[in-house]
Amino acid sequence: MIQITGLTKIFDRGTVSEKVALANVNLTFTAGEFVTIIGGNGAGKSTLLNCLAGVYAVDAGVIRLDGNDITGLPEYKRARWIGRVFQDPSLGTAYDMTIEENLAIAYHKNMRRGIQPGIKKAERQHFQERLAALGLGLENRMKDKVGLLSGGQRQALTLLMATIVKPRLLLLDEHTASLDPATAKKVLQLTKQLVTDKRLSTLMITHNMKEALAMGTRTIMMHNGEVILDLDDEERKQMTVEKLVSQFESKSGSSLNNDRMLLL
């Protein structure tokens, strides 16, 4: 379970470009919940995920993961419990290392990293099975450098790396946004499969409202660093993209027409 209380993040504090990216955000996610997050450009979605992952230090507030206060922990320590996939496919993997080496690095998240063999035989077997389950044929290319993979293949691999050790929280920041529509669909499909199979607590940012309503079990909408709408599964069933847009406009007092948050 994730409890976020009074979370505030201010960039460039005390300067002319001061920006309140998160304004006193309170949220609670229960275990196994799959939450989709929508909101316009600069709403604070990425900042929220980055604060959870420990990329940014927060200005105020507390983040609890399964009861433990993780607010002050550095990024690499939280990574033991948190899996992440980024918008930019090149961020999730080491391009000059092979597929199996990348998986091994992710697989040893909670283990001591000394002079044990980087990949053991049994581990390789395990990786091969997990890769095969992706259905992309990557299990036959385990010794290929990741630099040779397409964006979609890399996102699929990153997804597997983020979940190969079951995370307590999975953070997806527009992880299909830079892919072509067909590939994006495939990666979303994989996401759904992995998340539901392992009942992962997941936060997924998307710019696609239809997708936000179709995927997951709960949808929240952000604007100007605040959560302006929080829909549970029941409420989402009544919701259409048109209603969502009008809700957004009435709650935020701004219109959506010049935004990336498209109705696709």
Binding site: Y76, R80, A94, M97, A104, I105, K109, G114, I115, M161
Partner: protein
Amino acid sequence: MTLLALLGSIELGLIYAVMALGVFISFRTLNTPDLTVDGSFVLGAAVSAVICSSGGSPFAALLVAFVFGSLAGTVTSLLNTKLGIQPLLSGILVMLALYSVNLRVMGGRANIHLMNSPSIFNLWQVAYFAKNAKLITATLTIFIILILLYFFLQTRLGFALRATGDNETMVRAAGINSDVTKLIGLALSNGLVAVSGAMIAQYQSYADVGMGLGMVVMGLASVIIGEVVFGVKPLLRRLLAVVLGSVLYRLIIAFAFAMGMPANDLKLVSAIIVAIALSTGTLKSAVLKQKRHLQS
């Protein structure tokens, strides 16, 4: 070029290859050129000269050199990760500081001559191989170091190190403290560089406080020449390429000397070689662009 000069170049190439492997770790594995090298090379030589001239074991000298070199690399890394000083500048600062440290290690002298002290190169003197003692020792040493490094880079820690140079975001997301991997990388790198310096001091029976000048450029030249001539895949071949690149570099220099290049021009020529090698990527794409431009 005489056979003797050829043999000498190969020996030097093999010894400097230890340094080149160190440069490979910082430049290729961690992806940050590290200028500490110019200082840590001399540090190794100084430590080695002092130990050997006072009757210590030449092997112990290499080990102590490794430890001291690692410490130098550690300082550079801490300046970068803890104090937020840019990597290049951190290296320059430590290199500068080491100049004074090295003079202190050498007891205030600018150079030390090793007369008749034992060295790893003359232990074979009595044995059957005496004639090729230096070549055999140099080959054995680089072989052992290469194999150890090869295996190290395939351990869990080695994986973490390699990934750090590729993609720090991914490394942290995998629960690795990239500050620590950088530190281990720079320590290992400068440790090897110092061992190379220690070997050179024993090989030449001589250590000089100025002998590290341009060392990092030489290392880069070896790494790049190796990559261009011998390829980069797979890992073992890549490491071997660094060693062969170092030997090749020495042979090129020896050849240039034989053709009448004045010794004073050595650094200039080395810098030009590295500049050309580093810019091949850019030059290549510029030429391709020009071609495409002309065709359309």
